[in-house]
Point group: C2
Chain length 204, copies 2
């Protein structure tokens, strides 16, 4: 570690590498990424990457966890909110992104979706995505169940609805990026309200 400045901790160094990886992926894409592309995006020498990570695959697995942690850490929902408010807030944050700058959020999502599709060939990444997917779906299922228990929502199949909403969010984000449909998140939000959440409020 003689290359790293003495004042930088291992944690800080890893964050520098992760942000360099993010910039390199945004430029080159997953398909064409080389370790040297990452090295070119940071002030530290490339040896630092090899000190911290056991090759490109290990680095990308850590990067995937980094992106997910960052994403989840940014989802803030008022703990005292009623189920309806909380459900709306969770859907909006998944669809439109947390309070990063707009540009930055969608660039991160691009990498996320590229690695997601590639996980069909990759058991370890698949596991990381499955855990993340379960947490996202679970957080929606939980608030639907809470609303049903409190008599605010009609007694729907909460698991099924949570899964459906999670799928719609994923597809709308993917469509915005892959097909360039800038309004896909807004359209998805309107469709979720009109055709899915309406089952929670049958009397309105």
């Amino acid at each position: 570690m003689s290359d790293a400045p003495g004042t930088v901790s291992a944690k800080d160094t890893e964050e520098v590498i992760m942000e360099a990886t993010f910039r390199a992926l945004s430029k080159h894409g997953y398909t064409d990424l080389r370790m040297r592309d990452i090295g070119e995006e940071m002030d530290l020498t490339r040896q630092v990457i090899h000190y911290h990570f056991d090759g490109k695959y290990d680095l990308l697995s850590s990067f995937l966890e980094y992106v997910i942690d960052q994403y989840e850490g940014s989802v803030e929902v008022d703990a005292g909110a009623d189920p309806r408010t909380e459900l709306d807030a969770r859907i909006d944050q998944c669809l439109f992104g947390p309070e990063f700058e707009e540009f930055s959020h969608w660039d991160r999502m691009k990498v996320y979706h590229e690695l997601y599709t590639h996980a069909q060939n990759d058991g370890e990444h698949r596991e990381i995505f499955n855990e993340h997917y379960d947490r996202i779906r679970g957080s929606i299922v939980d608030v639907v169940e809470a609303g049903i228990e409190q008599g605010i929502f009609a007694p729907v199949n909460a698991e099924r609805m949570g899964q459906l909403i999670t799928d719609v969010i994923h597809a709308a984000r993917g469509r915005r990026m892959a097909l360039g449909h800038e309004d896909a998140p807004d359209e998805a939000r309107a469709a979720i309200d009109e055709f899915i959440l309406n089952s929670l409020y049958p009397d309105e």
Copy 2:
């Protein structure tokens, strides 16, 4: 074209190359594919590929159109069916695949989804996917509108519902492949019935 047997037409040769490309992509994935991998999957010499296609990118664009044509050619819906039967049939065929063998259909879809995600970096592929997406969504919108006109369906926003259903289908297929959720298409079908199509039949 001295390498190709005299009895093989250009059309047949292109199909041989397309099927070789499909097998090579299934083995190596989009990321690592080389022209020589395709050559190894066919009995014709590799020069034939270079005769028909102007490089890897040109070949993959043709391959994408080939997969889409094959997919669309296989979607058969009884022309005399009532809107409700036709809508169910279209959703099922998109979710569960046409009458290929199961294995073959999902292998084709893997390639489709990998190229779809990669289209975020690729204007030409994006255009091909956009046209295909419009046709899929359009075929669902059309049948919903026909049902409304005939008084069989309640007067919903057909465009919005068609888009929502198309997104759910895409996400469920992607989740089956990327995350290994074998039951994703069945779950999506149940969710579409319970939470989306129910708006078409408010009195049931």
